[in-house]
Symmetry: C2
Subunit: 248 residues, 2 copies
Amino acid sequence: RFPKVCALDVSTSRGLVRLGACAKGAGMIAPAMATMLCLVGTDALLGPEEASLLLRAAVDRTFNCISVDGEMSTNDCVFFLASGASGVALDDESRHQFAAALEALLLRLALMMVADGEGATKIMRVKVLAAETREQARSVARAIADSPLVKTAMHGADPNWGRIMGAAGACLAGRYLPQASLHLCGVQVVERGAARMVPTAEQAELKALMKQAEIDIELDLGLGSSSAEVYFADLGHEYISINAEYHT
Amino acid sequence: RFPKVCALDVSTSRGLVRLGACAKGAGMIAPAMATMLCLVGTDALLGPEEASLLLRAAVDRTFNCISVDGEMSTNDCVFFLASGASGVALDDESRHQFAAALEALLLRLALMMVADGEGATKIMRVKVLAAETREQARSVARAIADSPLVKTAMHGADPNWGRIMGAAGACLAGRYLPQASLHLCGVQVVERGAARMVPTAEQAELKALMKQAEIDIELDLGLGSSSAEVYFADLGHEYISINAEYHT
């Protein structure tokens, strides 16, 4: 629905380098054409191994943390090209600076990808905190992101904490979460594993915040010290129209 | 949307016993009330252990093989009551007959549950054959049943074999399936791991069959000798309306 491009000038301790990226986005164009394609270019002087390490780390924290409908594509690709035209090679310090810029750039494109997902009307960030392992944090975040009941509640701007806790609970079946707390758009709705009595003024504030285009969900499991984030789209009528009326 | 009741007279080698069951169905009635409840009664003379074994085996093959939207409920229950009023106690032979009747009864109710699922307009049976293990067969069947792209294609009566193979492939990531074959409503659309050129007459037939209220999906993985079945509902506008417009 809109072009997904982004560019950054990166001032590193070794000098200025440029980063640019464009992507074509989520949702199959036709059975014969791939799903997501992203091209990233830079004029930094990078060797193939260095470029691969930088890209993998950034993709892992951006494109691998988004979900439109939980479906795996067979064709998603991110390409990374480094021309070396700036003549700037990176040392440890400037590599950190470059890596941060690359991650910011890819996160921006990844969020555009979700916002442009099939039928998406809003974008949610779910942050899972205090999990035992990063793997656990990721799977809980993904379970919430992929839950049709959560996605439809978000579409309807309903602060339905029960569906969020339900999705997390199904993912952690058999676990007891006496310390769990949940914030929706910054308003606490679950504390110490139980529903919080939200004061009327906060309820009204939350109701208004839920209508915004960006929704923040923060779930603290109270189990450990690992965390993960996933960005996802809501599920509305437009998704059904696009995918039920498409014919092979 | 409709009452879910079923009763059977079971002629066993030890005499006649009766089985009856009723259920209230999928979709929360209100936040304070449970999701699915099913009550099964019989006048056979059953001990608690015998009844539990019979029920668990039947539930495993019926209620545990259905999916509306892939969401786990916190409250689903099946109760089994045996009055003994018939005076008929079961021996090995009659117990097999009784078990078959119980499974048939629960399958009937489970299918009614799916057909009455939120927004459901049709019911699909996905049968996964020739898997390496029953666990693998079940997880592939469930991946297909829970795929929003498959569910919307079914809603739109589209014989989209690509989405079905895609869901199976994502579940078996990294596996090569050179012997896979797929039948939709009895028409073969994938053979030996590739799209089959379906003759025009069969295409027309398939197109008509896809519009029916019951759709049969049969995926042979060509890997082993285990199989599993899952029954699921389609995903259409009504599901979105029910779940996005419901407010806590």
